[in-house]
Symmetry: C2
Subunit: 136 residues, 2 copies
DNA sequence: CTTGACCCTCCAGCTGCTGGAAGGCCTAGA
DNA sequence: TCTAGGCCTTCCAGCAGCTGGAGGGTCAAG
């Protein structure tokens, strides 16, 4: 694999992570500080792009930056134990299940209220009444 | 209804909205600046508590502060049209449906990967491989 | 040689709070 | 009367995870 030198913009378009976000990741230490060219431009290679893609996919799956950092560590560690990765993944699934259930409950509450609301020019609407007086 | 004067702490415990959050709501203009006693303490009454409860319930239903502001406006407007309220509610439902579907997809992706991961001391784990190479 | 597209750093802001510092006030007990 | 504590006040900072902009430097094309 030839190690072509990529600018931050090129690394961005190849990885899907915007330049600003790449700099941010560097700033918070998620990725190592990039090499610099003589003009102080950051220089990347395909490995960096790969890492950025890894990060982006993990982020898309809803892993927090802290979790992504952990995953990156496991990813880079050849002696990695799949137990740790699985633990992170299952924790994320549990969290998602909790969140989904919560959103569903809220969704149904609002949908019920909306159904009982005329939705015309008349002022009667149980949504506001509910918000006003519902004893939770 | 007697208009007992309540301190911010009392208003907080009666409404369920913490003092800091009440001050914050005042700061961003969600609620009107509170009257002040001679010692500069904020003074509230039952009406204010009612409003805070309204806000809290709307927040629990996941309405953003902007939406809450709109709901408050409609709530206070006697000539309010239920159409506007319903529109807000349905928009929220649609947004929730979108979010729920998204989280479900993510959840299933991670759960699938976790299932195929040994979860022991062995290094093989498709989760990392997927993050590494999955062409999205 | 100029124009425009990059790149750099630094600072501010987004949402919705929350914590803490530094100070004022008020009540109760010793 | 003093003091301890628990309120209250303001202001500043920080959480996550970026994103936008200002004010500059650099570079390649025409």
């Amino acid at each position: 694999m030839r190690m072509e030198v990529l600018s931050i913009g090129e690394a961005a378009s190849r990885s899907g992570v915007p330049p600003k976000t790449i700099r941010y990741y560097e700033e918070i230490g998620l990725i190592a500080p990039a090499e610099r060219l003589e003009n102080r431009y950051r220089a990347y290679d395909e490995n960096d792009v790969q890492t950025l893609r890894f990060i982006q996919r993990a982020r898309r799956l809803g892993f927090s930056l802290k979790e992504v950092a952990a995953l990156l560590g496991l990813y880079r560690n050849r002696r990695r134990a799949s137990k740790d990765v699985k633990r992170l993944a299952l924790a994320r699934v549990a969290e998602l299940d909790r969140k989904i259930a919560e959103l569903k409950a809220i969704r149904n509450t609002i949908a019920d209220l909306a159904e009982r609301c005329h939705g015309d020019h008349r002022p009667e609407c149980p949504i506001l009444d509910e918000l006003e007086s519902h004893a939770h």
